[in-house]
Amino acid sequence: MQNRHLALVLLTLALGACGGDGSGSQPAIAPRTEPDAPAVSASSAAVPTTAAAPAASSPATVRTDDLEAELRAVDEELSAGQESVNRANDTSPDRADD
């Protein structure tokens, strides 16, 4: 692990010497703080326990956001229904004589 860390530091210094950003004085790539640090699990990345999760709805108001989504779904169904009814009301026959 120490060898890997040393290699990374050398690589960082080498890149900095190349002047990746044109300045020649700052490394182009910021060094990692800890390359072998364990990955943060999804569970441990959850909302901090000290911060209260937002309430689903305020006690003072009736929650309707899900109903708004339902209304949009209804609009889609009614649009398709209107199209079908329009087709049924199309009196121009596919054939003119039977």
Binding site: P59, T61, V62, R63, T64, D66, L67, E68, E70, L71, A73, V74, D75, E77, L78, A80, G81, Q82, S84, V85, R87, A88, N89, D90, T91, P93, D94, R95, A96, D97, D98
Partner: protein, 240 residues
Amino acid sequence: MIRTPVRLAALALTAGLSLAMAAPAGAQTTTTAPPARLDQLKAKSDEQIKERTEQIRKLDSAVAGARADCGHNADLRSQLAADKTGLEALNADIQAETVPAEAVALHEQIFTHFRIYWLETPKTRVVLGCDRVTVGAGTLAELEAKIQARADEAKAAGKDVAAAQAALDTMITEIASATTAANQADDAVIVLKADKGDRAVLDANKAALTAARQKLRAAMADLEDARTAARTAVDALKSA
């Protein structure tokens, strides 16, 4: 009525064959092979029947793929299957016919005995329209139940939900009205049969189709009213 070149040709053939049949006996020639015009009639009949069986296939496919059923989808598919079988049998009869006048009479049945375009196509569209109204009514009914539950919760919490409840009651009424109208349209067209050349039946069928279309339009208007009431109910809950 606008007649297509195909029908005009058929009429011309009919007239020609009729004239031939009416010609003095002494003027007729005795031949063993059918006249060329009979062959043409058979070819045209085969083409027209195949067009109609393809239309039947499309209609049946649409009914098979319907997301809902007002109650007559199976019956309609049976009717379409019978039309297909009947047309194929008629085609066999026409192809086997050797008497020109008989062939002409059979050829006319392609239209009068099946009415694939004048009757079965609009009938199927009305049935599918009813099916679609049923889907929309179901979706609205689910929404109504959810809004009602939310209104009940709000009422239990001491809120005034009178406006929301009135809108919900309207939703229920409109959904029921739409369902009734659409089912009436469905019921009215499923019983229609091909007129077989009877003008009175043909006119009655057209009138029934027109009335069914009006019912479907009314059903959609009811669903739109139910949707408007849903909006009103949700807005009323927001301000409750």
